[in-house]
Amino acid sequence: MAGTIIAVENLTAAYGDNVILKDVTFSVREGEIFAIVGGSGCGKSTLLKYMIGLYRPERGRVLVNETDFSSADEDEINRERLRLGVLFQSGALIGSMTLGENVALPLREHTSLPPSLIDRIVKMKLGMVNLSGYENHLPAELSGGMKKRAGLARAMVMDPKILFCDEPSAGLDPVTSAELYRMLAKINGDMGTTMIIVTHDLELIFRIVHRLVMLDGREKGIVAEGEPETLRRNASDPRVRHFFTHGGGLL
């Protein structure tokens, strides 16, 4: 079994006095596709932001690639972040820049590659997400699914070891989301990228996810952890059973 790449230990997540998650502990293994599921507003995105070092844990620890986000200094966190890719919920492309510029952004900032090579890398990455030829389009000129794919290309441009995705299939039609899952599964298979995906899409969970944790807003913590198939068959908790039979939409 591959080693642990992310460890969350007794994490308490809060906005000011408003505690969202309490004493959350789990770990992600290298190379797996790991899902965080749960109802709307239960703190999935918040947890993700702790895992990418946007928020600092006040209680508990978050270890990513052995960097401890609770004690590391700013420089260490920045260095670690360069090995992470993040696909935000709406793509989060910079609105004033073309797709090409968006995808090239990390390369321009963190590498000293010549512009011609950067252009080629951008073309390659856009091709990988079926957006060849769109490098001069502005984000506003694209559909939701295309924005997400472009966001994926940008997240993958530095070939990160770990990719985080926040609700990659939210707002997409079934055909487009199926295409996106294929892409994610392919990236995982070909490059061994560890993926942490926030979702409540059962289709995605059963097709590509290896392991998951389920959060609950009332418990402020994890109510289930394991492989999707096992959970579906053996879960005793009614919330978990309900999720696996009805999907996240009704939660």
């Binding site: 932001k49 990418i52 946007l54 920045n78 972040r81 360069l82 992470l84 993040v86 935000f88 919920q89 709406s90 989060a92 492309l93 910079i94 609105g95 952004l105 990390p106 900032e109 963190h110 966001g151 940008r154």
Partner: protein, 381 residues
């Protein structure tokens, strides 16, 4: 029913009255339009304070919507408090379906967060003061970050996004030229006209030139320009960064290893600091031009005497100090605009709030800084 018949109405009829029980049938349509009448009608038929049990037969009911069902539940609940049991039976499938749809638990669940109650005056005043103080600390912290980023850019000029700087110079500068020119010209005109009414009486026409010149160069030029830039660009900066914050673009920049202040705020601040002094010169020129028009047309001064008098009354030092002042205004306007943008959390309405706050705070800071400069220049001079 006594009420004027609406399009839809329900009817109640007593079927049977026993000693401890009363059975009624509900017919017609019980819905949103008439649900509020239900309990009144019931009380009228059942009579003052019945004891025991009320039985409702819904079989004759042709239509029931969720508001109607709620009326039935509310009646049952109210009766329950008086110790009267209410039984409901019968009804077509649709009617039963609607009745079952109502989640009785949801009606009585207390809100997870209690309503914002009235807080005493002193508590509110205290909270207001605390949040004002917190805001001040945040602004100062941001200003510190901004200055650090500016120093970094001065030391590593290659690291700045000069393309963006040019873009914002065009936005905040070039596109503001017409409005700055127009307003300054009009202010010069008005000031010359109003002062000439007084000065004419003493035959001191020529001093209109000095008055307009000094006022425009020392105060009104920098101030009006700054206020226009605050309205045009300070708000735009706040809205732009705020929207990026809402769309998680700022988070995305951080995760890609960018410093959001350096990436987003520095180009805007640099552009403003470059461009506002230039706009100020332009504003001074148009202010004096406005005065000149009144002087030449209305006061029979010659072009030459007006210009000569203006030149005599303003010194190079005044122009120079005004430019320094306007650069400081620019820093404040762009800085507070960006800070308000970064502070946005939530959705679209938070962006609107931050935009308003950017303009109001910028104007406040401009006036504050202007007063400080007035005192400072008095001693330097």
């Amino acid at each position: 029913m006594k009420e004027a018949r609406t399009a839809r109405s329900f009817s109640l009829a007593v079927k049977e009255r026993r000693s401890q029980e009363i059975e009624l049938s509900v017919g017609g349509e019980l819905c949103l339009e008439n649900a509020h009448l239900f309990s009144g009608e019931m009380d009228r038929l059942v009579g003052g304070a019945p004891q025991g049990k009320v039985i409702l037969d819904l079989s004759p009911l042709a239509y029931l919507d969720s508001a109607g069902a709620l009326a039935v539940y509310s009646y049952r609940e109210a009766a329950g408090h008086r110790g009267v049991e209410v039984d409901v039976y019968g009804g077509a499938d649709r009617v039963r379906g609607v009745l079952e749809m109502i989640d009785v638990g949801a009606l009585t669940t207390p809100p997870l967060r209690s309503e914002e109650g009235r807080t005493p005056f002193f508590v509110r005043a205290g909270e207001g003061f605390v949040s004002l103080w917190r805001d001040f600390v945040e602004v100062m912290t941001f200003l510190g970050e901004l200055l650090t980023a500016l120093v970094y850019v001065v030391r590593h000029p290659k690291g700045a996004r000069w393309g963006d700087v040019l873009f914002y110079m065009k936005r905040a500068g070039e596109e503001a030229l017409p409005i700055v020119g127009l307003i300054s010209g009009l202010i010069g005109l008005i000031m010359a006209f109003m002062s000439s009414l007084q000065l004419k009486q003493f035959g001191a026409n020529i001093f209109v030139a000095s008055l307009v010149g000094i006022a425009v160069v020392k105060e009104l030029g920098p101030m009006m320009t700054a206020i226009i830039v605050a309205g045009r660009s300070g708000s735009a900066f706040a809205a732009e960064i705020g929207t990026m914050q809402v769309n998680e673009e700022v988070d995305a920049l951080i995760t890609m290893g960018f410093e959001p202040v350096r990436f987003l705020a520095v180009p805007k601040v640099l552009a403003a600091v470059f461009v506002v002094p230039l706009l100020t010169i332009y504003s001074m020129f148009f202010g004096i031009l406005g005065g000149l028009i009144v002087g030449v047309v209305g006061l029979d001064l010659t072009f030459y005497t007006y210009i000569k008098q203006t030149m005599d009354s303003i010194r190079l030092f005044d122009i120079f100090s005004s430019l320094v002042k306007s650069a400081v205004f620019a820093l404040l306007i762009a800085g507070i605009g960006c800070q308000r943008g970064f502070k946005v959390a939530g959705g679209a309405e938070a962006v609107g709030e931050s935009t308003t706050s950017a303009v109001v705070s910028a104007i406040f800071l401009i006036i504050l800084a202007d007063s400080a400069f007035a005192v400072l220049l008095h001693y330097i001079d």
